[in-house]
């Protein structure tokens, strides 16, 4: 690979110091059982159907048209929206507005350092966010223009996709982009018969690359439009039976409805603040 001439670079080969921990402390891959303590309590003390507290705020980036910051305990995501603005390349002209999304994990946001360039996983996440948002935005109202969503994960402690979708939705709404409905999102980790709401990074890792073979394990993330009661996107990683999948989706919808109040409250507060500023 050619070295990056636009950045300062260190040596070509680097290793994470945590790869050399004593073998007794950490095995490759975390066992699922590690995440669950007795009495069905999770390591962070939640019960399986409990969401983490959501901190949500709109209008955090002064330069952007709309922006949002969300915290699910240690998962921290910032999002800003620019546009509608002129399409850069003439070939991209269309009568329907276009929505783009850029997603990036900051280099220090995960346990292992990430690269500066966007990798496949991040591109995939961007597409998933875009698919969740696209059906809700009234794109026909923005001919010949584009709306850009930029999402950055400052720290990833699980459920980054649902946090990113929530942040994008609040950012779009605060930018005054016309939408049919809010887009809410929630994740559920399936592990055997257990449904873990809003999984942490530890739980996600345990389920996705577990060394033990589990009959049914996976993570469902669902984007839900609460007022019209419709689903805009579902993404699932893993292997479960159809019934379990349906069941997990039901859990997701219930959780989305719990988050609805938080998102509403956040947007109302933002609108009030903005009016107060204008009134001055």
């Amino acid at each position: 690979m050619p070295r990056d001439s636009r950045r300062l670079t260190g040596p070509e080969e680097c290793f994470s110091p945590y790869d050399f921990c004593c073998s007794a402390e950490k095995k490759p891959g975390v066992a699922i059982s590690d995440c669950m303590e007795v009495d069905n309590a999770r390591t962070d003390g939640r019960i399986s159907s409990q969401l983490r507290p959501v901190f949500l705020r709109a209008g955090v980036v002064s330069q952007a048209r709309g922006s949002a910051y969300i915290e699910l305990n240690q998962t921290k995501v910032i999002c800003s929206v620019y546009g509608p603005r002129e399409v850069l390349r003439r070939e991209d002209f269309s009568l329907k507005g276009q929505l783009t999304c850029d997603f990036k994990f900051l280099t220090f946001s995960c346990k292992q350092r990430r690269m500066h360039q966007q990798d496949e996983h991040e591109k995939d996440m961007a597409v998933r966010i875009l698919e969740a948002m696209e059906s809700s935005v009234c794109l026909h109202k923005y001919p010949k223009s584009q709306i850009n969503i930029y999402v950055m994960v400052l720290q990833n402690d699980g459920s980054a996709l649902s946090a990113a979708i929530l942040a994008s939705c609040v950012a779009l709404a605060s930018a005054g982009i016309e939408m049919y409905d809010l887009v809410l999102a929630s994740s559920v980790a399936i592990c055997g018969t257990q449904m873990l709401t809003d999984p942490t990074a530890q739980e996600e890792d345990a389920i996705l690359d577990s060394s033990e073979k589990v009959e049914s394990a996976g993570i469902t993330t669902m984007a839900f439009l609460p007022s019209v009661n419709q689903v805009s996107a579902v993404s699932f990683d893993g292997q479960v039976s159809l019934d379990t999948l349906k069941q997990s989706q039901q859990v997701c919808i219930e959780n989305c409805q719990k988050i609805y109040q938080v998102v509403r409250q956040c947007l109302v507060t933002y609108a009030m603040e903005k009016r107060k500023l204008k009134g001055r």
């Binding site: 636009r6 110091p17 921990c21 952007a64 900051l106 720290q155």
Partner: protein, 274 residues
Amino acid sequence: MAEEIRIVQPKEYYKRFLEKDVRPDNRELAEFRPVVLNIGCVTTAEGSALIKIGNTTVICGVKAELAKPDADQPKDGFIVPNVELPPLCSSNFRPGPPGEQAQVLSQTMADVIADSQCLLSESLCICPGKLVWVLHIDLVCLDYDGNVMDACMVALVSALRNTVLPKVTVDEETGDIQTDPTTRVPLQVTCCPVATTFIVFDNKLLLVDPTREEESMATGAVTIVTEGDNLCSIYKPGGTPLTENQIDNCIERAFTHGREVCRLIEDTLLSVDR
């Protein structure tokens, strides 16, 4: 009406304010914006800090990795600072590799670390010739409202001061590497360089801590980096020529500001338990 003049005739708009020695955001010419500092906000990084100067926001994370040292400098670790100005922080930036401004900022950060000697690359040595630390220091601007240089510098120093590394040992005979994540060693950061930026408005007035709008109208800029009673850098890349007295004046003010910022960093560090 005022807002329309601001967009159509920004220079005129500013002149009206500056005639009365006040800026549109109610600051005096030599007044800094309020600073909010949050140290240790990202726990996946070995060290981190988030700074807000007015609206300008910069987050800095330090990620430590291991590598073999260069053959000609067997004792020197690697310090790799990089500044990112992503499209998220302002509409002036486009997605893709870092632009000229980001590259200049990255280089300036590297230069300041070298000039001030706040972190010596020798202090990152684990086993000479075999293993050294690589510190990836990534600074990301989250909100670009001017004076990113000063913000980056505070974030950089705070994050370095916050950095703790796990204890790593190399077995003399076998060459095996052992990490003990329970024992944590802080970095040896010896000093606290602080940058203070001034811009020249309309070839004569000096404004401190400029906003984005002020920067776009500036005819020149001076950044002075102080460290205690010493100067680390005077960086005036072209622009309106200034007299010696004007620059001396800037240096004096930079020293006062430097001490204030150092105190802020110390106070914030004390309140962080880690």
